[in-house]
Each structure stands twice: as structure tokens, then as C-alpha cells.
Subunit: 224 residues, 4 copies
Amino acid sequence: MTSVTAEMRALSGEALGSAFLVAGVVGSGIMAQRLTHDIALALLCNTIATGAVLAVLIVIFAPISRAHFNPAVTLGFALRGEFAWTRVPAYIVAQIAGGIGGTILAHAMFAMPLVGHGIAARTGSSQWLSEGVATFGLMLTILGCAQRRLETTAACVGLYIAAAYWFTASTSFANPAVTIARALTPSFSGIRPEDVPPFILAQLAGAALASWTGARLFVKSSGV
Amino acid sequence: MTSVTAEMRALSGEALGSAFLVAGVVGSGIMAQRLTHDIALALLCNTIATGAVLAVLIVIFAPISRAHFNPAVTLGFALRGEFAWTRVPAYIVAQIAGGIGGTILAHAMFAMPLVGHGIAARTGSSQWLSEGVATFGLMLTILGCAQRRLETTAACVGLYIAAAYWFTASTSFANPAVTIARALTPSFSGIRPEDVPPFILAQLAGAALASWTGARLFVKSSGV
Amino acid sequence: MTSVTAEMRALSGEALGSAFLVAGVVGSGIMAQRLTHDIALALLCNTIATGAVLAVLIVIFAPISRAHFNPAVTLGFALRGEFAWTRVPAYIVAQIAGGIGGTILAHAMFAMPLVGHGIAARTGSSQWLSEGVATFGLMLTILGCAQRRLETTAACVGLYIAAAYWFTASTSFANPAVTIARALTPSFSGIRPEDVPPFILAQLAGAALASWTGARLFVKSSGV
Amino acid sequence: MTSVTAEMRALSGEALGSAFLVAGVVGSGIMAQRLTHDIALALLCNTIATGAVLAVLIVIFAPISRAHFNPAVTLGFALRGEFAWTRVPAYIVAQIAGGIGGTILAHAMFAMPLVGHGIAARTGSSQWLSEGVATFGLMLTILGCAQRRLETTAACVGLYIAAAYWFTASTSFANPAVTIARALTPSFSGIRPEDVPPFILAQLAGAALASWTGARLFVKSSGV
């Protein structure tokens, strides 16, 4: 019974964390879009809010759910044998449901229709390469922090995503659950629903490649 | 006698910390408003100053007063049995008095009439939902950091508030004492006095819900 | 002889650190002023560069010189009996000389005449109150971090100054050596030479008040 | 055989880290340039992305390669007898090859021709002084953090570079491999190929001077 309770807490953590993450991304995008006409400034505000809330969510939820909030990360750890495959489906469901809840919550806070339809076209090989690179780097960051304190991991993931918003052409979604949730908003951080599937494929490919690379790079060295 | 002295130091810490927090919020809003016409940029500057000073104040005052600076947080800990109810009234008085002092200090530094009247309308269910969500997240962040070092708590609270400035429609007041103090300024970060009571109700509801949620989520787990 | 060598290293550290601090403040002000017409944006860039370089300088120089870089801080610690009065004069000379060197270095890097004349008027009781509050808060931050790790102090001082750039009307010079050095630049971060003396008086008053306050607030408590 | 494997991992780390660093610099410059006409804002976004990704890369690659990503740093440590001269050539090749790969990757993500030609003129004694100062400060930061935790070094290097983007007239390339890689992009962060050699000379001079200075400043003191 204890493990059932612990798993319920883990799934609640994934859902609540994913909800706050997506509410952070979508909400800050709406706020920024309303307050300025300079797109770089809007993206900068969106970036800072996203990186900040992501780092906080990792610190507070990692002890109960590992703070994945991201099916690509959950699958990446399962591939490496560090997360039970039997736990994967419920984790992904919690992440997607939480993410969608986050979009709805952001819309409610900004007095918009609760569910909308993404209108930003994000397609083409450059965008897909961007998502692959973004998720590769995210997973490599997580793996590279495996031997460090939780605070270090949280700071690095927040900083990495903040940077990747800018150095990838797709603004680094890097997360299938967040991508699905962002297809439901017509605002700044949205994506057309038809552009979602190739984004997710690119994200999964990036995460898988990072799992493979990390296994070769981050072995415990005998001293450099 | 020692405990009387310790309690006086605690109340001084709450008052001084609340004063610097509100001076930080109000002062940086006045400065930003004077220097640019871009509202997003003004809010970004306001955000950075607020998050930065809040993190610093938590580090330096937590050892003497726990660094609540916030009646919703004080009441939330009292509800959880982690703060004596008998200490609550003086704490709240110190927080409100300090906060009002912070508004006066900011006005003095910027050569404005020492007390004014908020003119920004912040009302309606979306705003109230925003305040509830903002305070829920703030209290959950504090509870989720309970087992971590003070520096982690300070960084997470500062980052959370910086993010919440953007992902909530109300710019995340999330603090009844700060809300009252901000009703006394006609500047960028003000609020109409008549909009204060529902803000405070929403904040208290959010903090109470977070106390309940945290008690269920953040139990010491037997390992995930 | 060892202590002579150690004191020479300490003075070199104060001079080099003060030079980099002022070069950081003045240089980033020149860069920002050249790249934008939005004053808030220019101040934001100035803020970020100043806070960042200050935190770094404290980390690297604290072990050899305590990383004061500031006569008000050196005098504050002497008042508290935590820094030998005999060391004070050389420290202040090193800080001022280093600061002036920093202005010259910034001008050289930006191809300007090496020494100029500040043209920004910064006078009046609101400005002086701002400098008093800014330096009070800076000294209180340093004292409040006394029991913490060096990294915490460095981060808090950098964050505090970043915030105080915005919540004080004077942009928080908070340092007599830096104030003198900034009187020698006609650029964004300059100050008229005739406005320097009252700034310094206000800074010293703020630091003295903080020393007095800190002695009462930050005693080792018997537990709150 | 183990050491061969460890050295291959180290070189892979240098190459991959340098690639991500340059992709971060160049990619964020392209993104910012596309989204705004305000040059200060573009540089601010470029700054934040660069500092953030650099800090992350140091955390994750330092355990396998020391995370130099910079021939001036590698040579500086060799000069100090803290890095074997026999390892230097391969390190520099990996850093340059990785850096060029980063430019190509950024161009691919933003749908540009994979290799271009820098058009920004960056020449003259002020620019060279800037690069000397920038690299001197970078190397001094690294040496000053030698006794501290990896996270401190990573944060200080990221913060230092973020500040130096603003307080030097050259925006602080401070890295010969990155300079070469940036000569291959016509975008925001590029440099004319003919301006590269004096930049590299100034960077090496700054690093050498910092090695000399650090050896005198950062000796283990007998207590200050």
C-alpha cells in the first residue's frame, strides 16, 4: 500500500509540475505579448519566466517524482534502465494531462477561452533539427548533472532551457507533453496542431541520441 | 527576558524586511516607469529588482524571523501547526506596518508625496484566480523547500515570484501586507484600495489550499 | 615579512577588484548608451553587468583582501572592531586608486579620452536619502551574510546592488571610491564632481547606521 | 588503454562543449537579430543565452575534460605547469573543430548557408585592448576559483562573460577557438576573418598576463 501511495504522489507531482510549467510558459507569453510590440523583448520575458519556474519546480518536486515533467526524459531514463518501463505509461499520461491543465489555467487567468487552437506555423527541417538539438542538449544536461546536487541540476536545466529558447530556431519546446499543451493556445507560445507530430519525433530522437552519448561520455572516469 | 528580546528582533526583522521588499517593488516600478514607455520592459525591470531583493532579504532575515514578510505565509504555517498562533497577530502588524513604511520610503526617495492612492484597477474573477494561483504556488514553493538549505529556499522564492509576475494576470502580489502597502502608491505597481479585499481573500485561499496540498504531497517518502 | 607580503596582496586585490568593478560599471554604461535610446534598457544592461562582475570579484578576491572594494564597508567593519584601524588608510587609497584606474581603463577600451568630467546632475535630498538607504542596505546585506558561505555573500551583494540600481532614485552608487571614479567619466554612469561630497556623506551615514543596526539585529539568537 | 579512452572522452567533451558554446553564441545572435531592431536588446539576449549555456557546459563537461573550450585557457594552464604540454595540440584542435561545428549547426538550425564570412569590422587598438582585458579577467576568474566547488567556477565564468560582453568594446570574445568559429558567420556575432589574428594575439597576451598575476595573487595565504 505504501508504494501505491508513493506512486500516486509521484504522479500528482508530475501532473502538478507539468501544469505549473505550461502555465508558466503560456501565461508569460500572453502577458508579454499584451505589453510590448517588440518580439525579442516578449521572448526574453517568456524565457526568464520559463527558466525560473522550471528550476523551482525541479527543486520542489524531484524528491517525490524525480521532476521529469517530460515524456522524452522519462523514456530516456527507461531506455537507460534507470526508470521502470511499467511506470512509464502513467507518467506520460500525468505529464500530458497536467500540461493541458496548465494551458487551461493560463487561459483562465488571462480571461481567454479555456481551450484554443495554435496558429503559429512551426515546420520544416530547420525546425525539426532545432527540436532534436534542443532535446539532445536537455537530456545531456540532465545526465551530466547525475552525480551532482539537486540544486545544481535544477539550475542547469533552467539555464539550459533559457539559453536554448534563443539558440534554436524553434525556441526549444524540447518536451512532447508541453508541445501538445501548447497546441491548445492561440497565443504567443502556441504551435499549430498539425506541426506537433514531427516536433515530438525530433524530440524523442534527440533524447535517445543523448542517452546513447551520455552512456559513453559520462562513465565514471579513472581521473583526467 | 531572552525570548522577549528574540521576539522583538523577530518583529524588527519582519518589519524591516517587509519595508525593503515593498520599497524594492514600488521604487523599481517608479524608476522603470520614468525611464521607458514600453510596459513589458518596465515590468521586466520591476521583476528583476523584486526577485533579487526578495532572495537577499530571505537570506539575511530568516535566521532571526523566518523571513515570512507575508501574512498569508504566517497564517499558512500557523494552520500547519508550525508557527504559534499567539505570535501571529504581532507578526501581521509588523508586516503591514513595515510594508507601508516601504511605500513611504520609496516615495521619499523618488521625491513624491509620501502617501498616495492606487489608481490601477485590478478586479474581476481572472485577477482573483491569478492571486489564488500565485499564492498557492508561493506557499507550495516554500513548503517544498522545507528540507533544503536556506539559500535554496531564498533562490526558489525569488525565482518563483519573478516568474509569477509574468504568468499570472495580476502580476502576482501574493501577499496581503504588500497588497495593502501597494494601495498607497499612485505609481506603476499600485492597486486601487477598493480592489484590495478580494485580493487578500484570494491570497489567503491560495495559501490555505497549498498548506493542505503540501501536507499530502511532501510527506517524507519511503523512496520513489 | 610574511604579513607585509600578505598585506601587499590584500591591497593589490582591493585595487584590482575596484578597478574591474568600476570598469564594469562605466564600460557597460558606455556600451549600453551607444546601442539603444531606451534609458530603462540601458540601465538594465548596466545593472546586469554590474551585479554579475561584482559577485565574481567578491568570490575571487575575498580570500586575499576580504573584497571590500568600498571605503564605507571598510570603515563599517573598523567601527565594529572587525578590521584594524591601522589598515584602513591604505585600503581606502587602494580602493580609490583602483577605481580611478577602472574609469581610465573603460575609457581606453571604448576609445574615449582617458579622463573626463561627469555631467549628470545628481543632487537634492531625495538623492541623498537614496544613497543613505542604498548603503544601509548594502552593509546590512554583508553583515546578515556573515555566518554564511562566501558564495552566498557574493550572490547576495550582487543581487542587492542589482535591485538597488532600480529601487533607489540615485541608482545606488553606495560606495565612495566608486563615486569618485564615476566623477571622471562624461558617460551614462557619471556624476558631476560637485555632487560627490554629499553622496559620500550619505553613504558613510548609511553604513554607520547599518553597523549599529546589524549589531542589534544579528546577534547569535538562542533560537526563534 | 584506459588513459587512451579517457583522453578520447576528454577530447570529445572539449569538441562537443565548444560546439554547443558557439552554437549558443551564434544561434542566439541570429534569433535576436531577427526579432528586434534594438541592438542593445539583441546583445542582452545574446548575453543571457551565452552566459547561461557556458555555465551549464562547464558543470557537465568539467569532470571529463576540465571544460576549457578555449585554447587561451589550455595554454594558460600549460604555462602554469598544471596541464601537460603533450595534451595541448589535440585539445586546441578539438576546440577549434568543435567551435566550427557549432557555427555550422547554428546556421543549419536557422536555415542559413552552413558556412559564411564574417562582415563585422572589429579592429583597432581599443578592440585589441578590450580582448586583452577580457581574457585577462576570464583567466583570473578561473584561477581565483581554483579552490572552490565546480558550481562556483561555472557560475563565476558564466557571470564574468555576461558582464564582459558589456564592459569591453569588443563584446569579449576572449577565446581563440570561438573567434575563429565566429569568423564563419555573417550574422550578429560574426567577425571579419582579417580581424581574427590580432584578436587571438591579444587574447593570448591577456591569458599569459593573468597566469603570471594569478601566481602572485592567489598563493595560499597564511591568513589575512
